[in-house]
């Protein structure tokens, strides 16, 4: 709704939290640290640079899809929304969000500039439904000090296993040497980590568990192998137990284990810790993508943030304003990548200033290995949650592995089958 000749107002709905206290008025993006600060300053700068447009920010609690659904149902959705690439199908298939091909073209954004993972993540049925903002994946965050003590450092780099057996062997060696578990995992009240691990190692085995996006196949030897591996680690005490996300995050900071399986977003935090003297991580933090444990192919399950435009009646100038903002966000993707997430644009990856960022060189391999699920799969959050529940009960021994896999498969398929 355009006031007589006032600026066009567009509503941007996002998560990432609020940090107006420090950055409410700042347009100095370079000085901003962390997701919240960077996105806040970015928007501030856009508003400052474009007097004819005003971006009103609607911050929502992560991930905010309930509110989005409610707003869509109520018929007045925001103009621009953060959305995980894994969620796009849910909305695109119902025409709740607009294809952006034409609009992006009009502001000179060319999908061929996206990284493969990003492009796969936002494309549905040949149409681009979102502007990719980043990709992120689970990584192996390594405590080099402990690794060194366990003799698992080879010319400055952590020694990574190349097969399940090596993994077990190195883990045992590590634990023997340090008396601490090799892995730190968030295993309590954990909605997704288990599933992401499973996806990663299924991808590495080329298991086509989602050959049909409406039907998952989990009663496979590949899946069994993966669960068996994690159960083994659990049974032998080679991983922390009974930790939830918070406990695990603190545990790694406090040097209570060798490898912490968590996402790209923690790089900054741990890099900071590594620079503090006295911290258990001091001078001893490395991060690498998941090792390839299975010969078939090197792959890591990845997701990413992106921007979508909910379907609604909009005036032409409003639409134009939206795409100008999208263009602006794309142009500042480097700034965003300082959060630790992987840039969604090949150009940024290639840029020297990105590679200059700490540890980026160590994870650049992800650009080629990051893989989302098949585009047609809906309700991926729910699917991950179901699989995680079942894997937890299998790994902690409350259910036989095969039973857990069967239940997971049945429950997931029930969800997908009953979709309208």
């Amino acid at each position: 709704q355009r006031a007589a000749n006032g600026p066009v107002e567009i509503t941007l709905q996002r998560f990432f939290g609020a940090c107006d206290a420090q950055y409410g008025a700042s347009t100095d993006v370079a000085a901003a640290e962390g997701e919240c600060a960077i996105i806040t300053t970015l928007v501030n700068r856009f508003n400052a640079q474009n007097r004819d447009v005003h971006v009103k920010v609607n911050i929502v609690y992560w991930p905010g899809y309930d509110q989005l659904s409610a707003a869509l149902a109520a018929g007045d959705p925001p103009d621009l929304v953060t959305m995980h690439q894994s969620v796009i199908s849910d909305y695109s298939l119902r025409g709740l969000i607009e294809p952006l091909d034409a609009g992006l073209k009009s502001v000179g954004v060319d999908p061929t500039g996206f990284t493969p993972a990003a492009r796969a993540g936002v494309t549905r049925g040949g149409h681009v439904y979102a502007l990719p903002f980043d990709n992120w994946a689970m990584l192996w965050h390594v405590n080099m000090n402990l690794f060194r003590a366990a003799g698992l450092v080879h010319n400055g780099k952590p020694v990574m296993p190349r097969s399940p057996d090596e993994l077990l062997a190195q883990a045992r060696q590590f634990t023997r040497a340090t008396g601490k578990p090799y892995l730190i995992q968030s295993m309590v009240n954990e909605p997704s980590a288990y599933a992401r691990n499973l996806f990663t190692f299924l991808l590495q085995q080329d298991s086509d568990f989602f050959a049909d996006p409406r039907h998952i196949k989990l009663r496979t030897p590949q899946a069994h192998r993966v669960l068996e591996l994690f159960k083994q680690l659990y049974d032998e005490g080679l991983t922390t137990k009974n930790q939830d996300y918070t406990a695990a995050t603190a545990a790694f900071l406090n040097g209570q284990g060798g490898v912490y399986l968590v996402g790209t977003w923690m790089i900054g935090t741990y890099d900071q810790a590594a620079r503090q003297r006295g911290s258990p991580l001091a001078g001893g933090y490395a991060v690498v993508p998941y090792p390839q444990l299975y010969p078939a192919r090197d792959a890591t399950y990845a997701d990413g943030h992106s921007w979508v435009v909910p379907a609604a009646q909009r005036s032409p100038e409003k639409t134009r304003a939206i795409f100008r903002l999208l263009r602006f966000l794309k142009d500042n993707d480097f700034e965003w990548s300082r959060t630790g997430h992987l840039p969604a644009y090949a150009a940024v990856i290639a840029s020297a200033r990105w590679r200059a960022l700490p540890h980026r060189g160590d994870i650049v391999r992800l650009v080629d290995t990051a893989t989302p699920l098949a585009p047609g799969v809906q309700r991926q959050f729910l699917v991950q949650q179901i699989i995680s529940e079942e894997m937890e009960s299998a790994i902690t021994g409350q259910k036989p592995i095969d039973a857990a896999l069967a239940d997971a498969e049945h429950r997931v398929n029930d969800v997908l089958f009953n979709l309208l």
């Binding site: 939290g17 409410g24 992560w62 991930p63 149902a73 109520a74």
Partner: protein, 273 residues
């Protein structure tokens, strides 16, 4: 009954323990709210030792929108409380004291209403409010709270227990039924009003679900939705201190309301005794 009874000391001890169990988490929350998020990342044990900081509270207050949310929550909670007290008292008096055809059946039906879980009406309600364009408005936030039958239930019970003579005296004094209600029974129902008031205000203040899906526009956020929205992802890990500060901050108004109403409960009791 001034006479000490056996086991009194055991009782006192038990009470003390219970009080401790009750108080500990609250103090814990307060302590955590005074620590910086980064310190807490290492674990919450640090909360027992300095340094303490008001930084988290600063961040809350520094967030301009917070006062808007505070205002919204206050308006909505007061609105619902006032509405519930009014409707429940009127209806409670009607059900308890006035004979009209079908009264008992209707009352039973209202009691049935107690059993309706929010989830079984929320979707239809959301659609209805969309049709009426009530979302993102105070009305949209206040109306649903008014339907709760608990108040009617409570007030009816209370009015039934009141002596009839007072009412009759008022009628003889030429007071209309409404005036009798307004000047005589209402003032005498203060204890019940206070109890009901506290809990209506409280549940409205802490309500998260309906405001989340009705007030989707950040300018209409209530405090609960607002503070939730301002948490970054994994806030419990990365923003624990901030989270706790928000909890303390959001609780203060209710504690004030509690203190006020509690006084009325006591006063009402004195009047009754």
């Amino acid at each position: 009954m001034a006479h000490a009874r056996p086991g009194r000391w055991i009782a006192v001890a038990a009470l003390a323990v219970a009080a401790l169990a009750m108080a500990a988490p609250l103090l814990w929350t307060l302590l955590l709210s005074l620590k910086s998020n980064d310190d807490l990342l290492r674990g919450t044990a640090v909360a027992f030792a300095p340094p303490y900081t008001l930084r988290n509270y600063g961040d809350i207050l520094g967030h301009s929108a917070v006062f808007g949310w505070l205002l919204n929550s206050t308006i909505v909670s007061l609105g619902v409380t006032a509405g519930v007290l009014t409707l429940s008292s009127l209806a409670g008096y009607g059900f308890a004291r006035l004979r009209f055809p079908g009264r008992d059946i209707i009352f039973i039906l209202v009691l049935f209403g107690l059993a309706i879980p929010e989830q079984s009406v929320i979707i239809a309600r959301h659609q209805m409010f969309s049709a009426l364009g009530l979302h993102n408005s105070y009305g949209g936030l206040i109306f649903p709270g008014l339907a709760a039958p608990f108040g009617v239930f409570l007030m009816t019970q209370y009015f039934r227990a009141m002596p009839k003579e007072l009412e009759e005296a008022a009628w003889l004094d030429g007071a209309s039924r409404f005036k009798t209600f307004w000047r005589i029974l209402l003032p005498l129902s203060l204890p019940a009003q206070a109890t009901l008031g506290i809990f209506t205000f409280l549940s409205t203040w802490n309500d998260y679900w309906w405001p989340l899906i009705s007030a989707t526009n950040s300018s209409m956020y209530t405090l609960t939705v607002g503070v939730a929205s301002s948490q970054m992802n994994f806030a419990q890990t990365n923003g624990l201190g901030f989270l706790m500060a928000q909890a303390v901050f959001a609780s203060v108004p209710i504690l004030i309301v509690y203190v006020i109403f509690q006084r009325y409960i006591v006063a009402g009791v004195r009047a009754a005794a």
